[in-house]
């Protein structure tokens, strides 16, 4: 493979796995792309630098860089395990990926008209539609360690194509599951979504982790949203409490398209949700919403950004966080309005509920505006539930525990209401209720100060 002078120490751990990759089945363009990505990752290494590392200012990747992860083993997963650990509806078109590899056996596809859903490796071999020009064009060639790392190991994953004009009535569910093996492993989930002109559909992206030890999951998702297409996207992150999840989503939107996403981040020891939408033609709009909950020593890091490159686009970022125990959350929102993007409207908001001593929230909602005819605003808050609020409920006969649960649940409700498919809504509500019990058990300030 490529020889480089003294790559950063954290690169070595991934080198032998990369060198033993079998690329005999792949077309030359993918092999070239992977080599370039590896060269890129070798240069960059894991971004552990503490000074001047604005993208990772509040999240120290040292524990990740120091940990060892195996690569390449694929375990067995049963359908029941998937059903009981994530959202599920038989009516949905479900695509399952186990340890990075597409599983035809576990997938549940109904042959909806206009939907191509299946293995990314097959789509690459078969040269399906624009896969060659699309793959890694949004994520994988830029100077960013984690998309480079994923791309270097890219082989399989999910390809989702929706034909122009197709209106899918039931959601498409993509499940990335880490199987129950004893080792700490790294997986590189990959999803490519190509939405044809004026198509319309709902997609649910779920990460489930059945393993005991710490896993490293480095997903990369690319959305190509053609003119007039409308996508409703949900992202559910349910990794185990020892794991690292460093997800990157890149969305390219053409004219008059709509991309609306709600994320539900509760899992992992360190979870990162990095999403960027490019409003590349006039009239595009995007909505990026999310709920994160942290307890124990957990950390959730939201890196949310939107670029308005053309006039008359609208963007909306709105995140809510609930923190307890000794946990830490980061919200870094960014809206860039470029010179030509007149008549842009952008809103950005991050609200946090702090439940105990020892929590830490770092919020950085930033705006970079280069056009004058714009309406942009942002807001951020952090606060707690005070004594008076709790007293109000208590004085109406609600017992203390119930009152606390009502207050926290009430804060989350606005986000939970965004999960429209019934089975999905039932799932996130059930998980949230369970999480609130944990959050409250670790809370020492709610209603006391």
């Amino acid at each position: 493979m490529t020889t480089l002078t003294a790559p950063p120490a954290s690169v070595e751990k991934y080198a032998s796995a990369f060198e033993s990759l079998d690329d005999s089945d792949f077309p030359q363009w993918l092999i070239t792309t992977r080599l370039q990505a590896w060269a890129n990752f070798s240069d960059l290494g894991i971004p552990i630098k503490r000074r001047g590392n604005e993208l990772w200012k509040y999240t120290n990747l040292r524990p990740l860089a120091d940990a060892e992860f195996e690569y390449g083993t694929i375990g067995l997963v049963s359908l029941d395990e998937i059903r009981s650990n994530g959202p599920w509806d038989d009516a949905w078109d479900t695509v399952v990926v186990v340890d990075g590899n597409f599983s035809a056996q576990l997938s549940n596809l109904h042959g909806a008209a206009g939907l191509t859903a299946g293995s990314l490796a097959e789509a690459i071999s078969a040269g399906t539609d624009d896969v060659e020009s699309q793959f890694a064009s949004l994520a994988g060639r830029e100077s960013y360690a984690f998309t480079a790392l994923n791309t270097a190991f890219a082989g399989d994953g999910v390809y989702l194509g929706v034909a122009a004009g197709a209106q899918l009535e039931t959601p498409v569910h993509v499940v990335f599951v880490s199987s129950d093996l004893a080792a700490s492993r790294v997986t590189y989930p990959r999803l490519l979504v190509s939405a044809g002109e004026n198509s319309s559909f709902t997609i649910i992206e779920t990460y489930i982790n059945l393993a005991g030890p710490a896993q490293l999951t480095v997903p990369v998702v690319e959305f190509f949203v053609s003119r007039g297409a409308r996508i409703r996207h949900y992202r559910i992150q349910m990794e185990n409490e020892k794991s690292f999840h460093i997800g990157t989503t890149r969305v390219d939107q053409k004219g008059d398209s709509s991309f609306s996403s709600t994320s539900f981040a509760v899992g992992a020891l360190m979870g990162r949700n990095d999403i960027h939408t490019q409003l590349g033609e006039p009239g595009a709009e995007c909505t990026l919403h999310g709920l994160y909950m942290t307890s124990g020593r957990q950390q959730q890091d939201q890196e949310i950004s939107t670029t308005h490159a053309m006039p008359n686009c609208t963007s909306n970022q709105f995140y809510k966080g609930i923190l307890s125990g000794k946990s830490h959350a980061v919200f870094s929102g960014k809206v860039v309005v470029e010179r030509d993007a007149q008549k842009s409207v952008a809103n950005q908001k991050d609200l946090n509920l702090l439940l105990s001593r020892g929590v830490r929230i770092d919020a950085k909602p930033s705006l970079e505006i280069f056009a004058d005819d714009v309406k942009c605003g942002h807001g951020a808050t952090a606060g707690h539930v005070d004594r008076d609020t709790l007293f109000y409920l208590r004085s109406r006969g609600v017992d203390e525990d119930a009152a606390k649960a009502i207050l926290v649940r009430g804060f989350a409700a606005e986000m939970l209401d965004e999960f429209k498919p019934a089975a999905l809504k039932e799932f996130v509500e059930r998980i949230t209720d369970g999480r609130i019990e944990t959050l409250l058990a670790e809370s020492d300030t709610l209603g006391t100060v």
Partner: protein, 487 residues
């Protein structure tokens, strides 16, 4: 009389691009260009400083050399400028006639006094009428301090920094570097090594300073760096309002200004610090102008209050974050700012509010105006430490864009380590609305007048924090600075 004078002065301002662009032709005592230990020693000896002061400077210098060698000049701010050659700057320039320290105002070079007249500083008798004590720093050397005697009767010390080092060494030793240590940042280290003068104020316990203290800074000599240092101490229960103004002549080359201001507000005291910064912003084509890299920070002890108000219309580059360390319980920090960038000006400015004590409160109101090719960034940090029980912060940042070649950016850092804190941050970015303009135009105002009226109204929240005369000057400055940006 004063207000008459001010009015005629400000009315003169209109129709001029940069009124303060004159050069005063007076002999200056220049040290050779470049920076080394000898220059630091020279500055110290010129100031007849005691050994401990020189030692402190040398420590700072050595630290700065390390920073410079490891290329630690800060790069995170949203400003672009050619690399500064620190060996191509004069670090010491004193007006020659002042080297024999003036005994009274009569000893001051008449040409310099004429300069101050052009600046409109009410020095001498006019100072008394204006009720302002002025410490004018001319190319880094304090020229004359008015009102010293009157203040002295109250026990207030207001003098140049060099005098303070000689006459009040205990106070200087105790507080110098206690809020901005020489290791603080690149420019603060540089300042600590080569600062030439500045102002010093001490208000004794329980004393309310009856007049506003003022320092006027001016860079005159070409290729000169100005490194003044201000130290203000409000002892327990004291109150002081301090004003600072600055100008520099037209120069096609850049001038470096790296100042440090330290405020110490002891228990129950209050310091109000107002700045009108009107350093030369460069030509409309972006040539020349002052690089303004300033470190300003205050420490508020128990029940103390520190309030920063700034109107920033000058400088090619402004890099400045007046901050408050809210150390004592119930202390209060405030930051009110209007920053304007026109032509090719760049500003990266904001504040830091570090909450340490219980029940600490901070308020931030920052207004940014961008016009021409200007780029204006609000960068602020609100940090709530675990000990800061029931801390409250409210931040409001508004940006206004005039024209389609400028930029307005907002980068707040909100860091909370205590769950009982309450923080609110809100910001908006927009242009002057067509409806508002139409309303005023329909009533016979020109487009320029209408813009000025809207912008002044929009900035009112900050202007009303300024002492009256400053508020008037600030409004006029905005008008002049925006000339040509509208229509």
């Amino acid at each position: 009389m004063t207000s008459q004078n001010t009015i005629s002065r400000t009315s003169d301002l209109s129709g001029q691009e940069y009124q303060y662009g004159f050069v005063t032709d007076i002999e200056t005592d220049l040290a050779p260009k470049g920076l080394n230990e000898d220059i630091v020693r020279l500055i110290s000896s010129k100031k007849r400083e005691p050994e401990w002061m020189l030692e402190w400077r040398l420590k700072a210098y050595r630290y700065w050399v390390e920073l410079n060698e490891s290329e630690s000049e800060p790069e995170w701010a949203n400003v672009k400028y050619p690399k500064i050659d620190y060996q191509d700057i004069y670090y010491y320039a004193a007006p020659k006639s002042v080297t024999e320290a003036p005994k009274s105002l009569d000893d001051v070079d008449p040409e310099m006094l004429a300069t101050f007249e052009k600046l409109g500083i009410p020095l001498q008798e006019r100072a008394k009428l204006a009720g302002i004590a002025v410490d004018a720093v001319f190319d880094s050397v304090s020229v004359a301090t008015t009102f010293e005697k009157q203040l002295g009767e109250l026990g207030i010390i207001f003098c140049s920094f060099s005098e303070a080092v000689r006459n009040h060494p205990d106070l200087v030793k105790k507080y110098l570097g206690s809020v901005v240590p020489y290791t603080d940042n690149f420019f603060a280290s540089l300042n600590a090594a080569v600062f030439s003068d500045g102002s010093f104020a001490y208000i004794p316990p329980g004393v309310r300073c009856p007049i506003e203290l003022m320092t006027y800074f001016r860079i005159n000599t070409a290729d000169t760096g100005q490194f003044e240092r201000t130290l203000i101490i409000a002892d327990k229960g004291a109150y002081v309002s301090y004003l600072e103004g600055c100008t520099a002549p037209f120069r096609k080359t850049h001038q470096l200004h790296a100042a440090v201001v330290e405020l110490i507000a002891l228990d129950d005291s209050q310091i109000k610090y107002s700045t009108i910064q009107n350093w030369f912003p460069g030509t409309p084509e972006g040539e020349g102008g002052v690089f303004n890299f300033v470190t300003k920070r205050g420490r508020a002890d128990k029940n103390a209050k520190i309030s920063w108000t700034q109107v920033e219309t000058g400088s090619a580059i402004t890099w400045k974050y007046p901050s408050v360390i809210l150390k004592g319980d119930n202390s209060v920090g405030e930051f009110f700012s209007v920053a304007l960038t026109n032509n090719y000006q760049q500003a990266d400015t904001g504040t830091k509010m570090i909450h340490i004590g219980k029940n600490t409160k901070s308020t931030i109101v920052a207004k940014g105006i961008s016009a021409g090719h200007g780029n204006n960034t609000y960068r602020g940090q609100v940090l709530i430490m675990p000990s800061a029980e029931n801390a409250v912060n409210h931040t409001q940042c508004d940006s206004l864009l005039i024209g389609d070649k400028c930029g307005a950016h907002t980068v707040p850092y909100i860091e909370v380590r205590n769950p009982t804190a309450r923080l609110e941050h809100e910001a908006s970015t927009s242009k002057v609305s067509d409806d508002q303009l139409f309303y005023l135009r329909a009533r016979g105002l020109s487009e320029e007048e209408a813009h000025h009226m809207i912008i002044t109204g929009w900035s009112r929240e900050v202007f009303q924090e300024l002492p009256f005369e400053f508020a008037l000057e600030a409004s006029q400055l905005l008008k002049i600075s925006l000339e040509g940006a509208v229509g």
